[in-house]
Amino acid sequence: MTGYLVSRVVRWSTGLLLVSFISYAMMFYGAGDPILRMFMDQQGGSIALDEQALTAIRAKYGLDKPFPQQYANYITNFFQGDFGISIREKRPVLDMVLFKLPISLQIGFAATVFSILIGIPLGIIASLNHNRWLDRFIVSSVVFVNAIPIFVTGPILLLLLVVTLGVMKVPYGWKGLFDSQIILPMIVLAMAPLPTLVRQTRGAMLEVMGEDYIRTARAKGLRERTVIVRHMLRPVMTPVVTSAGLILIGLVNGALFVEAIFSIPGFGQMTLQGIQQVDFPVIMATVMIGTLIVMVGNLLIDLIYPLLDPRITK
């Protein structure tokens, strides 16, 4: 078991290193001179500086060293928690991350819980009514939700609830996990993983329903509820958990839009601004951390998978 664990960790770590290398190389050769960028004014025009000053500044930040050395420096710093200094905001990227990432994690967590509480029961109900009206309705609704881009459902829901129905005021900014203001962003973000959850659960239930051991359980006279909860849910959880990687990716992507629409100062907003301002350290940090989140999630799945399905021994 530990051999399996170690091999998975090694696998994902080397993957992360590969991502870091390619990202760094792309930014290094493609994103332009960060020093010039640092002295740009707000409109993007550059302020004249003599070459000597520029060279001195470059040396100070270690930017005159060759690429492999800069990359090595970056990686060693990264794993000690030093993500560099944001070119635009002129403060450590780590500070920005420590402030913004927890916000996104909280919204993401809330959205995931919400999505699971709604999605899995819906999937089960749909499968139990296979091909009847309820099943088709649930599947169709879920497909529709998936089809409309997330940055369209957000404003539409906003319009409905704020302007038309007057149920709430426009959510703006971040007031904490337990403020009622989080409800709308959470629901909009939950729309990302919801279709995947419903379809996976429904598909898995349909596969399991025809199995012999289920028929045996029913023949033994067990109540339908017991059959579902005790015998069907566990094999159904396997493909659902496996799709958690996809769900995580959907959340990371979706958070970008949700935070932009609702003006939430989170990790997604930081990513967007980093790209728009071509802020090299911020871009690197967001790509690394975003990938890290998904990889950690996948690693956890790799670890949970044998617990769910003991047949997996390798």
């Binding site: 696998r11 994902w12 493609g30 296979h130 404003p155 990513t271 990938t291």
Partner: protein, 315 residues
């Protein structure tokens, strides 16, 4: 039921069976019709559209649906109906090209991994997982930031040197980047799918038997692997096309997709999201278009899969 020599019972092929099953699925058929209409509009629509997608009419901004402009006008007085039609062409091109590229990469990697097994398989799957782990939007933004600028700078240099106006037109770069990014995001999923199919079909007894009696790999591939793998693959391709259209809208919304003033549904959506509270018709047209195509592709793909690989119906 006994079949005697010369009896008149006609056997049905897999394709005829599938066709019959497909027809019974109303949603899938509707989806298929919508898709055909979509490609037709993409092909000939721009020749029949009342206005050019760039044609501005500042005096008539923000109009609702009128006789002259069936879906109204946008901020620059451009006819939304015509822009929708041109947008269909853009969407079709994006969907087809990016899905084709990701299909080529995905099949190559997946088939190689499934066939080779062992070390090669592990290496390819590792690579696939790594690419899949980078959130698509981040990948898109990073590639855009890192690749576009140097190429644009290069083109500018060449233009300054040669003064050849050919190098002024950089729209192809936006399209190429978009195709590349969309393909890059979606090929891992296809690769995994293909690999899974190759592995599972390769293990079946009928393939084993075919190999045992000396069937060539080509025959095994065409007679056994392809027909069985086709179902999930077609679902993935169909969903992929719908996904490409939605992804293009997302990328254009951020600003790294198709640039204005070109007509794409994503650009129309982005333009509308500033002002839709005052002019909701700006938002409705592109979102209905995008939503409709995504739904159509999904149902069509599902229908195809059910037709080719019917699951046992319950009760």
């Amino acid at each position: 039921m006994q079949l005697e020599a010369g009896s008149s019972v006609r056997t049905r092929t897999l394709w005829e069976d599938a066709w019959n099953r497909f027809w019974k699925n109303k949603l899938a058929v509707i989806g298929g019709v919508v898709i055909i209409l979509f490609f037709l509009i993409a092909l000939v629509g721009p020749f029949l559209a009342p206005y050019d997608f760039r044609e501005q009419d500042i005096g008539n901004q923000f109009q609702g649906p009128t006789a002259n402009h069936w879906f109204g006008t946008d901020a620059l007085g451009r006819d939304i109906y015509s822009r929708l039609i041109y947008g269909a062409r853009t969407a079709a091109i994006v969907a087809i090209v990016s899905t084709t590229i990701s299909l080529l990469i995905g099949i190559a990697v997946g088939a190689a991994a499934g066939y080779a097994r062992g070390r090669a398989d592990e290496l390819l799957m590792w690579l696939t997982d790594v690419v899949m782990s980078v959130p698509g939007l981040l990948l898109a933004m990073m590639i855009n930031a890192a690749v576009k600028r140097p190429i644009l700078a290069r083109l500018d240099e060449i233009y300054q040197a040669t003064k050849n106006p050919f190098f002024l037109n950089t729209l192809w770069l936006d399209f190429a980047l978009l195709f590349g990014i969309l393909a890059l995001i979606s090929w891992p999923g296809l690769a995994r799918l293909v690999r899974g199919q190759v592995l599972s079909i390769g293990r079946t007894t009928y393939v084993e038997s075919a190999r045992a009696i000396g069937a060539s790999p080509l025959r095994i591939l065409s007679r056994h692997v392809v027909p069985n793998a086709l179902g999930p693959l077609l679902v993935a391709v169909s969903a992929g096309m719908g996904g490409a259209i939605v992804a293009e809208s997302a990328l254009s919304w951020i600003g790294i997709g198709i640039p204005p003033p070109n007509a794409s549904w994503g650009i129309m959506l982005r333009d509308s999201l500033q002002l839709w509270r005052s002019y909701p018709h700006l938002l409705i047209a592109p979102s209905v278009a995008i939503g409709l195509m995504s739904v159509a592709f999904t149902f069509f793909g599902d229908g195809l899969n059910d037709a080719l690989n019917p699951r046992l119906q319950q009760k």
